[in-house]
Symmetry: C2
Subunit: 183 residues, 2 copies
DNA sequence: ACCTGAACACCGTTCAAGT
DNA sequence: ACCTGAACACCGTTCAAGT
């Protein structure tokens, strides 16, 4: 005899992310997530393998918040859009965001974001054999900065100062790319 | 009546770091650290405030592994020495290293490392008012890369590929600095 | 002064039982 | 098929007691 399904994996991950945003990463317990869903902790195990799987799912969810590409935009604007959105995501989800740097870049959402950067680099004129390397280097710069900002490494600096830092970083990213474009 | 002192804070932090290097961050429990020291878990509380303080101490310890400055070296070589040593530290302590990006940059060891970069930027000819910004930007690049490498974001890539990525990043760092040096 | 034993609240996870 | 109750091993932390 089937029961009405109260929750699914997506609801579990959404509740976990809300909990992390509200109370920090260490407040994300099976009990707290379950309470948010009006269910017992044991009910979660039908939808996630264990707590590690739950956390992986939450981190993956972060990348789905990156908007799709705008093919009409210049490569500079495409990259700026991705960078800005990553920075905004980090600010919305400061306790989860740093985990992005610790996860293998092989999940579907992470591939999607990466392919978007590949596209921008190609239309900038970067030779095909250099595209993957440049993607790794510049995504490390942007992810590292957004994670630093979100996790409080720069907590003593004002938003204005950090915006200036980010502008400097963006200039370095563009210069790195242009160094590989034959003129 | 005094007892012989079996452990001190430094021994606790050293044992914690060993435990993290051997079994990963989640294996660092008060019980595991205490066992390594031949003591009960409760004994640790005389030397660290709580587990957060213990972890902070371990992360801080990481930065003390950065060697001091060599005043005879060029600014390029000075920065390369710091970058190389950070990368080596990340490889020695992969599970703890990523926490560096999440800690406020205000601890003594972190100030020491920062001042060393300040010195190199000054001798490169970077104007004084630009020195702090450039330090934040380039340390973010290097820390972000070392953390990515250590934590397995790039685990599918060989050491040779990652060395190439690092060389590209180092070139970007030098270019970023030179952009701010009047010629 | 420093460490231990006992105790507590909390955590992730399992398994059989209920609908 | 999906959720719950009971149970377990483990975790961080406290406090009074021992030397």
């Amino acid at each position: 005899m089937a029961r009405p399904q109260l929750i699914d994996r997506d609801a579990v991950l959404a509740a976990s992310l809300e909990q992390a945003d509200t109370g920090g990463l260490e407040s994300v317990t099976m009990a707290a997530v379950a309470r948010r869903l009006g269910v017992t902790p044991m009910a979660l195990y039908r939808h996630v393998e264990d707590k590690d799987d739950l956390l992986d799912g939450v981190v993956e969810r972060l990348l789905t918040e990156v908007p799709g590409p705008d093919p009409a935009a210049s490569w500079e604007d495409q990259l700026a859009a991705i960078g800005d959105s990553l920075r905004a995501i980090a600010r919305r989800h400061p306790s989860v965001f740093p985990l992005l740097l610790q996860l293998p870049a092989t999940t579907p959402a992470s591939r999607a974001a990466r392919d978007q950067v590949y596209g921008a680099l190609r239309s900038a004129g970067v030779p095909e054999e250099t595209v993957p390397r440049l993607e790794r280097v510049i995504s490390t710069m942007v992810l590292g900065f957004a994670a630093s900002e979100a996790s409080g490494r720069f907590r003593q600096h004002s938003r204005r100062v950090l915006d200036g830092d980010y502008a400097e970083l963006a200039t370095s990213v563009r210069a790195t790319i242009e160094r590989h474009v034959a003129t």
